[in-house]
Structure formats: structure tokens, C-alpha cells
């Protein structure tokens, strides 16, 4: 298939890429005069085994082009869709997590448009009877609570993917179609235009992603596009209640991209409005390399999708019993969990938020505490050294050689004073991948902390005798010199001395 001229879209980019020279001040100025109104539409692929309407795998990444297909998802003549019930359940689970109502009756509709990545020429989606309605998500930005309405959460099928010989379809000489992704269950979460700043939009997305990952319906991968976001944004005068002309922004595949694209749009629209110009209702794409949005499709080409009920699928009836069962199966959501960890374990709001950012971390935290590790120590280890190692090795704690039990045992050795912090860090580093029982290793290698008072006093005296210069410096008021002496003792014990006890002893000995 070849297409050289503007196809479905309008004639190219209407305005040259704008250079935001002093983005921060300009953004501030614009936001003093104009209030942004932002609504986000999120598409999340569901973590089902199979596609929405056929038996092909929903895990298509890495398959050779068009290999993960069958007559149904290829849209061949004569085939029929069969609904994936797990996808319905996952959508209802998501909707309940987002405080939505689940109507008893729902149905699928056909959304008609031509595009090479849409094999049937229509997408099976939901129009006027979605699976859920009227939810909300609350979160905090800069200490201010934001409540964003959720218009609806509905279910549809993903399209295939196109690769163009060129940046965008309209300028491509040729394109190739890959239908491996076609028919993957896709949940659309339509947010109300309740967001007022790029930071709020970003936080909304972070929280939404977190919830979907928590409840196991989505893997939250923005880069690979399993979690995608489109933004609608318009500006209005502060105090106005009406809405300005909105622009839809697409192609943002990171939280940062969403933030930057919205900032860019606010400035772009603000400048146009300041000059007395009107905003064109259009779709714009974020181009990361240019740091700008460019026009993709104008309103004159707006589609009439001619929705009508999908005659190949009977309407859905969701019984109260089904909804109750899904609700009962919902795990504790991140916000509830963070609040409980603060309440039950005395974590700070910051620690609780960090620990609950990923469900695995929260699980690890609770397991450590259950194994007898004090909460603060558990949080510190998880947020610090363990997080670093998990990042560097790309292996999360539960899958590491050390595992949760190993970490619990290691931290307890520190808490009981058997080993000191630096020994523990070294052991963690060593055992994280290799595995092993920390207590046994400590015993075998004699890594136990030297806590014999007489032994420590002897070592302190020896170090004082061997380092007259440092002693003189300390006595002369150089506080850091004390660290050299502590280091001497640690060296003599191969790091096994309790640094606090040694410091105390040194101060005692060197006191004037």
C-alpha cells in the first residue's frame, strides 16, 4: 500500500514549531491570565491470556509481524467475534477501583472508520451503554487534594500497528501493517475535564497507572504502549465556567511527555489567545525530539463514527452477584494501603507513599514486619539498598537469591546488634543474587559485631597510640579527625565494631 499525499488527515502542519525560549516564566505568565482545563483519556491493555474476541494470545510483543493472528482478528470475511469474559471482569474490577457505578445492562457497538490498522473497518467498542459510569479518583498535588471525575470505563479492542516509511502517515511513501496487536482487549478510561495543571494531569496518570497495576489488570508500560494517554486541553479566563475550544494531544509515551506536552500547549494556546486569535479544534501530536505538538487532523475531517449496536454480540447483563464477586476480589488499593501502613506501623506519609508505589514493595514491607522487623527499618532497607539493587540487577526482591526471608533475617541481625550496618550492606550486596542464609554466613565468617567492652577499649587505646597526629588534630578542634580514629578501629576489626560504641569510647579517652 502506498500513499504519498494527505490521506485521512488535513493538509499537514498548520503552524511552524514554536520555540519556547523561557518556558517557565512564559508558562507562569500564561497561567496567570488563563486557566487550563484538562481531561485525560487513558487506554490500557488488559492482562488477559487471549485477545478480546478470539483465541490469539494477548501478549503480542516480540512476535514476528502478523504471526499472532487468526481469521477473526484478521477480520476475514465470514468470521464472528466471541467475547472474552475475563476482559469484562477486568474492566469491571478497574471500574470498581475507580468508584464507578456498574449498570446492569451494557452492550457493544460498532465504531465505523476506515484505516489499515483496523481490519474490519470498524472497531468493536462501547457507545451509549458502557460497562461503567460516574467514578472518580482523588489524589494530592502540592498538598492540595484533587478530585477528578471518571466519566466512564469501557471495553473495546485494540488496533494493529502501522510502520511508515517516514515520520507520519500523511508524508509516508509506503506503510506496512502488523495485526499482532489487533483485537487485544483495551479498556478506555475517560476522565472528566477536572484537571487544571500539567502537574495534576501527571499525578492523575501516576495514580491511575498505580491502581491498574495493583489490581493486576494492566502492566502500566507507557513506552510499549500498554498504558496510553490522550489529553484534551483548552484555556479559559479564570472564573469562567464555560469551556474554550479544545485540542486533543496524542503520542505522549511517558509521564514526562504528558507534562511537557501540556505545558507546551498551554503556552501555545495562551499566546494565540493573547494575540486575539482563535484556537483551531484539532488533533495534535507530541513530537518528543522537537519538544512540540504538531497538527495532525483538523475538525473539518472530524469523523462521524456511525455507532450502532454490534449485531454479532448479544447485550451484556451484569448481575449484582457478579459485581459483588468482583468487588469482593478487589485487593486493598494503594491509597488505602498507604493510610493503613501509616496508621498501623507509624510510617510517615512520605515513606508510606514510597513503599506503596509498587505493590511488590508493599507486600515485601508487610512480610518483613510480620517476620519481626521493625517498621522503620523495613521501610528504610526497602526504599534504600534493596531498591537500588533491584534497579541495578533488574531483579525484584522476591525473585532474588536472598528473597524476603533472607532480607528479614539479615535486617534482624542488625537490629539485634549481631552485625553492624556496613557489614549488613556488604552481605546484602553479596547475597542478593547469590542467595544464602545471612545468619549462617555471619557465623561461618565470624562477621559478628565486636561488642566485648574490654576488647574494644584495648583496640581504641592502640589506635590512639598509633595515630598521634590525628589525636593532636582532634584535640586541636578538628572534629573530622575523630572519624580517622574510628576508621582505624573499624579497620582493625574488619568493620565489625559498633561504630557508635567506638566513637563514644574515643571521646571518653580523648576528653580534655
Amino acid at each position: 500500500m502506498a500513499h504519498g499525499d494527505a490521506a485521512l488527515a488535513a493538509g499537514g502542519d498548520g503552524d511552524a514549531v514554536m520555540t519556547v525560549t523561557s518556558a517557565v516564566s512564559t508558562l507562569d505568565q500564561v497561567m496567570q491570565r488563563w486557566e487550563p482545563v484538562i481531561g485525560l483519556e487513558v487506554h490500557g491493555q488488559l492482562l488477559t491470556q487471549s485477545k478480546m474476541f478470539c483465541g490469539c494470545s494477548a501478549d503480542y510483543i516480540g512476535s514476528p509481524p502478523n504471526s499472532n493472528t487468526c481469521p477473526v482478528c484478521l477480520g476475514l470475511p465470514g468470521v464472528l467475534p466471541v467475547m472474552n469474559r475475563v476482559a469484562v471482569e477486568y474492566t469491571v474490577r478497574s471500574a470498581l477501583a475507580l468508584n464507578c457505578e456498574i449498570p446492569e445492562h451494557s452492550k457493544f457497538d460498532r465504531k465505523n472508520y476506515f484505516y489499515p490498522d483496523l481490519p474490519k473497518g470498524y472497531q468493536i467498542s462501547q457507545w451509549d451503554m458502557p460497562l461503567s459510569l460516574n467514578g472518580h479518583l482523588t489524589f494530592t498535588v502540592d498538598g492540595e487534594e484533587v478530585r477528578c471525575g471518571i466519566t466512564r470505563v469501557h471495553l473495546e479492542e485494540d488496533t494493529g500497528t502501522l510502520q511508515h516509511a517516514g515520520d507520519i502517515l500523511q508524508q509516508a511513501r509506503s506503510s506496512v501493517v502488523d495485526l499482532n496487536r489487533a483485537g487485544v482487549p483495551l479498556m478506555e478510561i475517560v476522565g472528566e475535564p477536572d484537571l487544571r495543571t500539567p502537574a495534576q494531569a501527571r499525578e492523575y496518570l501516576v495514580r491511575l497507572r498505580q491502581i491498574l497495576v495493583y489490581i493486576g489488570v494492566n502492566d502500566g508500560n507507557l513506552e510499549q504502549g500498554s498504558f496510553r494517554c490522550d489529553a484534551n486541553i483548552s484555556l479559559r479566563k479564570h472564573g469562567d465556567t464555560g469551556l474554550g475550544v479544545k485540542v486533543e494531544v496524542k503520542n505522549m509515551n511517558s509521564f514526562r511527555a504528558v507534562h511537557r506536552a501540556l505545558e507546551y500547549e498551554i503556552v501555545r494556546q495562551g499566546r494565540l489567545l493573547d494575540q486575539g486569535q482563535t484556537i483551531a479544534q484539532e488533533t495534535r501530536g507530541w513530537v518528543e525530539a522537537k519538544g512540540a505538538t504538531i497538527s495532525q487532523r483538523s475538525k473539518e475531517y472530524a469523523h462521524d463514527y456511525r455507532y450502532f449496536p454490534e449485531p454479532d454480540l448479544p447485550p451484556l447483563h451484569l448481575s449484582a452477584a457478579f459485581v459483588d464477586r468482583v468487588r469482593a476480589g478487589l485487593p486493598e488499593l494503594p491509597q488505602q494501603l498507604a493510610e493503613r501502613l501509616q496508621r498501623e506501623h507509624g510510617l510517615s506519609a512520605y515513606d508510606a507513599a514510597t513503599i506503596t508505589a509498587e505493590r511488590e514493595d508493599a507486600r515485601a514491607f508487610e512480610a518483613l514486619v510480620a517476620a519481626g522487623v521493625p517498621a522503620k527499618a523495613a521501610a528504610n532497607w526497602l526504599m534504600g539498598e534493596v531498591a537500588r539493587l533491584a534497579r541495578e540487577t533488574r531483579i525484584p526482591l522476591p525473585g532474588s537469591g536472598l528473597g524476603l526471608d533472607g532480607l528479614a533475617s539479615l535486617v534482624k541481625l542488625v537490629e539485634t546488634g549481631t552485625i553492624n550496618g556496613s557489614t549488613a550492606k556488604e552481605l546484602l550486596e553479596e547475597l542478593y543474587l547469590a542467595g544464602g542464609d545471612p545468619a549462617a554466613v555471619v557465623r561461618e565468617r565470624g562477621l559478628g559485631q565486636v561488642s566485648d567492652q574490654a576488647e574494644l577499649e584495648r583496640l581504641v587505646d592502640a589506635v590512639i597510640a598509633e595515630n598521634p597526629a590525628a589525636v593532636a588534630d582532634f584535640r586541636g578542634g578538628k572534629e573530622q579527625a575523630l572519624q580517622r580514629l574510628v576508621g582505624g578501629v573499624m579497620k582493625a576489626t574488619r568493620g565489625r565494631a559498633d561504630a557508635r560504641v567506638v566513637t563514644g569510647l574515643l571521646r571518653e579517652r580523648l576528653a580534655p
Binding site: G4, G75, G78, V79, V177, R306, F308, P314
Partner: protein
């Protein structure tokens, strides 16, 4: 084997007088002799040979277990997908499309040992009532080759009427089995919507389409129906209800049955010859012990316009996949839009384009409420009126078509063509089972009697039809084929 029934052929197979391969070869030459009528688009060749071998094996392994269709040759309409056999839906846009899968109805027939021989001509995407909308040319009626065989399953009706095969498959969206059955003087049965899986049927209007058989005997149609019917997990609209065994109903007659005659179906517009034949048929049913009751289906007059909103609306979406990207015709142009426009512009015929445009318009923003939504409401009313009628009668009996087979080229304006289906399409809107059986001749051309039953009462419809058939001889009438098309079938 010309003119033999499924039962007769099956008996000969079991006596060892013939083989599935021999029957297939005879059917093939009988079909070839019909070339001047042009009912066949292509022969299934390799599949025929393979399946004849399979049937022979089944008969050899266990003649008792092999069902009544084992070894029986048949033809099917060019809208049903069979792996490895070109399927073009009578359209240039699908020329060269070879399905990589077999649809459920066909797969069940193959499992029953039936042997496909040919793919039959039809109106493009099953849209038409005369078979004149086929991209591959019209079909002649065996009773008079200058006349149409009806449509859209014209080829399937013609080959059975001419005695070349004992049964064939068609599809019925608004009358496309029953009306050609009526025009060609054979039995044509449209089962309850959802009774036979649509998986593998190239969709025209998904909520109306249904696959069904043509045969020269009701009992044969019942065998084919039985082999195909039943829930299919690949078709979410197929009924999960168990299939009532037809054999328990066949042969029980109509004694004591209440048969409704819809007043609106006997109104003006019926050709006199049709009216006469139907009146005689109704009298015959009464003589067989049925009580005739006049019933009213007042929304009938709205059925045609309702149908011509819903069916085109669905087809406008169903045919969108014919875009030249993955299969069939591809007209390469510089831009994507031009590729779509040229491929579809060259690939679809005028009637298909007309219906796509009608449907697109009916679904357009601003018109949806006035057309599509309104049509759905009327559709519900029509179904409810049938339901109410069936509270007092066991089945409905009426003409299949107000007219007999008309000359090719006679109905050049679309509306007069659409009116051909005025007595059949309400049945599709309500999802009911309906059959057409021969009940007389009008000026030498067959007239069809339609029997309509409540949803899922397919067996009852077949029972009424068979009771009539056994009391009359109209089903034994064969077309006086002119020399040009008779050939020498053995």
C-alpha cells in the same frame, strides 16, 4: 441420478450400487449440463475428491452409523467459507479470496459425510431477489431460462430444481432462500435465527442472516437442517437451546392444528395465479384436519422500510472489511484514500453500493434516531405481533411471494425489486423459521406456499410443510428443461 432424493441415493449407496465418488461425478456432469443457466460459479474439485473418499470410508467402516447425508453430493452458495475453496460472494471485490478456514455449517455437513461438488451463483453479497446482481452474470430459471430463479440464492435453487443435486445450501436475510425456492418449485427452509451458526457465512446483515437448505423433499431439507443445527461457541448469536429432533415431528400431520392466515399477506398485490394456488393449498390443509384462522399482523406494511434501514445499516459496516488491504481486489493508488475509493468503486456492483450508501446514511449523526433507532422499535413491534399470533395458532401459512418468476430485466427499479420480498422479510425481522414448498403452477411457473413458525419451532414448520407435501404432488413436478440445458445427466 437426476431428480433422486437424499433418501433414494442413500439407499443405493448402502446397497453398494454406487459410491460417493460416482455420485459426485454424476452431479458434476449434471451441473455442467446446466451451463447455459449459469447456476455454478466453480467446482470444488480437490475437496470433492477428498470428501468423497472420506464418505466412502465412513460407509465402509460403519454403514449404520453413517448418517443420511453420507456420500450425498451437494452444492453451496458462494457466501459460505470452506478452507481452500475460493469464495467470492458473487462479487469482483472478493475474486481470488480463498478462506483459510471452514465455517461451522459446512464443517458439520462435511463431518456428516456430505460431498460438496460446486459453489453456486448468487446476488452479490446476497443482495437481490433475482440473482441479476451477481458480478458473474445472472442465472436462468430451469422452468424458463429467460426468467429469473429468484434471489439471492438463485444458483442453489436452480441446481436443485434442475435435479442436478439432491440438496444445496443457501442463505436467507430477507427471503433469499424461500423466494427462489418458490420461483424454482423446490423446498427452501430458513431456520430460526441463531439455530444454524453463521460462522463462515460472509455477512450481509448479521441480525437477519441465516443458512438453510434447498431440497426436493421436506424430509431431505430436515436431514440437512439436523446436520447443521445447534449451538456453536464461535457464533455468540447461536442459540444454546437444544435442538428438538425433527424426526419426532415429521409424519405427524396437521390434524387438529390451528394454522393462521395473515390477512395482510393475502391483500391486493397477489398475482391471480398465486392467489388461486394458495387458496387451493389452504383448502388442502383444512382437508388434512387443520383449522384455518384468520390473523392480523398490522405492522406488516412497515416491514419493508424497516428492513431496508436495518439490513443496509448492518451491511454498511459488514462490507467495510473489503478494503483492498488484506485480501481480494486491490487497486493501487498513490494515496490511501484513493486506494480505498478505487478498490471499492471498482469492486462493488451498483446494488451493493446503493445499500452501503443507504446504511451509511441511516446511521449518520443526526439521522440515527429518525431511521435506525425507529426501525429497531418497529422491528420489535413486528416480532411482538408474530408472538401474539402464535398465542392462538400453531403456525402461519401464506404465499412465499406475491408473484411468480419474472423475466430477466423486468424489474429495473430497485423498489419494485425490493417489493418481491414483502412476504418473506418480516420473518427475518422477527427471527422466525420459515419454509417455502411448491403448491401449484401459475401459467407453467411454480408457486410457493410459506409456512412460518414460532422461534425455535423449526420442527413444527417442517412437519406442516411435509404434511402438505405428502398430500399433494406439486413437489414431483419437474421443470420442462429446454434442450439447450438438459444435456445428458445419467
Amino acid at each position: 441420478m437426476s431428480g433422486e432424493t437424499v433418501g433414494e441415493l442413500g439407499a443405493r449407496l448402502r446397497r453398494g450400487e454406487t459410491t460417493p465418488g460416482e455420485l459426485a461425478a454424476q452431479a458434476r456432469s449434471a451441473l455442467a449440463a446446466l451451463d447455459a443457466l449459469h447456476p455454478v460459479l466453480r467446482y470444488t474439485e480437490a475437496l470433492t475428491e477428498r470428501q468423497a473418499g472420506r464418505a466412502a470410508q465412513m460407509l465402509a467402516d460403519s454403514p449404520e452409523q453413517a448418517g443420511p447425508l453420507c456420500g450425498i453430493p451437494f452444492a453451496y452458495k458462494d457466501v459460505l467459507c470452506v478452507e481452500g475453496v475460493e469464495t467470492s460472494a458473487g462479487s469482483k471485490i472478493l475474486q481470488g479470496f480463498i478462506p483459510p478456514y471452514t465455517g461451522t455449517a459446512l464443517a458439520r455437513l462435511l463431518d456428516a459425510g456430505a460431498v460438496p461438488v460446486a459453489v453456486t451463483n448468487c446476488d452479490e453479497f446476497a443482495m437481490g431477489s433475482s440473482n441479476e446482481n451477481s458480478a458473474f452474470g445472472p442465472v436462468g430459471n430451469p422452468w424458463d431460462p429467460s426468467r429469473v430463479p429468484g434471489g439471492s440464492s438463485g444458483g442453489s435453487a436452480a441446481v436443485v430444481a434442475a435435479g442436478a443435486v439432491p440438496f444445496s445450501l443457501g442463505t436467507d436475510t430477507g427471503g433469499s432462500i424461500r423466494q427462489p425456492a418458490s420461483f424454482c418449485g423446490v423446498a427452501g427452509f430458513k431456520p430460526t435465527y441463531g439455530r444454524v451458526s453463521r460462522y463462515g457465512l460472509i455477512a450481509f446483515a448479521s441480525s437477519l442472516d441465516q443458512i438453510g437448505p434447498f431440497a426436493r423433499r421436506v424430509a431431505d431439507a430436515a436431514h440437512v437442517f439436523t446436520a447443521m443445527a445447534g449451538h456453536d461457541p464461535r457464533d455468540s448469536t447461536s442459540s444454546p437451546a437444544p435442538v428438538e429432533p425433527v424426526s419426532e415431528q415429521l409424519g405427524r400431520g396437521v390434524q387438529g392444528m390451528r394454522l393462521g392466515v395473515p390477512r395482510e399477506y393475502m391483500a391486493e398485490g397477489l398475482e391471480p395465479g398465486v392467489r388461486t394456488a394458495i387458496a387451493a393449498a389452504l383448502a388442502q390443509l383444512e382437508k388434512l384436519g387443520a383449522t384455518l384462522v384468520e390473523v392480523s399482523l398490522p405492522s406488516t406494511e412497515a416491514a419493508l422500510s424497516t428492513y431496508y434501514i436495518i439490513a443496509p445499516a448492518e451491511c454498511s459496516a459488514n462490507l467495510a472489511r473489503m478494503d483492498g488491504v488484506r485480501f481480494g481486489l486491490h487497486v493501487d493508488r498513490k494515496s490511501l484514500t484513493d486506494t480505498y475509493l478505487e478498490t471499492r468503486g471498482q469492486g462493488f456492483g451498483p446494488e451493493v453500493k446503493r445499500r452501503i450508501m443507504l446504511g451509511t446514511y441511516a446511521l449518520s449523526s443526526g439521522y440515527y434516531d429518525a431511521y435506525y433507532r425507529q426501525a429497531q422499535k418497529v422491528r420489535t413491534l413486528i416480532a411482538e405481533e408474530f408472538d401474539r399470533a402464535f398465542e392462538t395458532v400453531d403456525a402461519l401459512v401464506c404465499p412465499t411471494s406475491p408473484i411468480v418468476a419474472f423475466p430477466k430485466g423486468d424489474k429495473s427499479d430497485p423498489l419494485s425489486m425490493y417489493l418481491c420480498d414483502v412476504l418473506t422479510l418480516p420473518v427475518n425481522l422477527a427471527g422466525l423459521p420459515g419454509i417455502s414448498i411448491p403448491c401449484g403452477l401459475s401459467e407453467g411457473l411454480p408457486v410457493g406456499l410459506q409456512v412460518i413458525g414460532p422461534r425455535l419451532q423449526d420442527a413444527r414448520v417442517l412437519r406442516v410443510a411435509q404434511a402438505y407435501e405428502q398430500a399433494t404432488a406439486w413437489h414431483t413436478e419437474t421443470p420442462p428443461l429446454p434442450p439447450a440445458v438438459t444435456g445428458t445427466p445419467s
